[in-house]
Symmetry: C2
Subunit: 152 residues, 2 copies
Amino acid sequence: MLDFPGTPGTLTAFVLRILQCVFAAGSVASMATAVGFYNFTAFCYVIASMGLQVTWSFMLALLDAYALLRKKMLHNPILVSLFVVGDWVTATLSLAAASASGGVAVLFFSNLGHCSFGDECRKFQISVVLAFLSWITIAISALIMLWILAAG
Amino acid sequence: MLDFPGTPGTLTAFVLRILQCVFAAGSVASMATAVGFYNFTAFCYVIASMGLQVTWSFMLALLDAYALLRKKMLHNPILVSLFVVGDWVTATLSLAAASASGGVAVLFFSNLGHCSFGDECRKFQISVVLAFLSWITIAISALIMLWILAAG
């Protein structure tokens, strides 16, 4: 299998996983501390999706760290197939969650002229931005995984 | 390059492109005929994104039809790279647009208890569903394109 920065077991892959975790955890924290988020399906969906993202990315970060320390390669085709499926599912869910909550946030801030939830408005915005950042990092990982699987 | 159903110039690819066009055009038609859609950024975004999708998919459908009639292969790596970029850009925009408008539609229908735009509500819903169907078909095309490019 191909070996370039970003493939499983490399430092780039580990950094990408950590960034995914940090952005997704930040998004969950920002949304979960906003009072009244549970009244909006899109905001609950962001918490669920980013929660799944944190779990998945943290597991893979541990695996990358283990491979780095033991200087092992993680280029088993079955393992990479599993990474591809997990990455694509979480990446799709993350983009959908970020966009759905982004749509609702834009509705509050632009279309209705103002956001009437006080201090919580800022938290909604931060959560959406962090969810998009998390999606960008997971999308990079997902593309690399699919590429190395297809290239064999 | 690999040759299996769904690769450029095959009947499956042509059918996928036509489906993308039909779903995206239906989504635009349903949203554009709903009075007051322009008050919502997410709904305007669906029209823009699905408009781009129709244009892109129609161009590729014509190319597939030409390849089918002339029995030519479209497996030039430069051409496939172009298809990959176009497919991924439109697929990402389509999912984001479908999710953003889906988030707003769910807000109207579930979170606010009812939709207060009368007959237009049904059109918003139909447009969102068609946008998601269009995304599913473009996602299949995009995955196939990336796969044949990576597999060489």
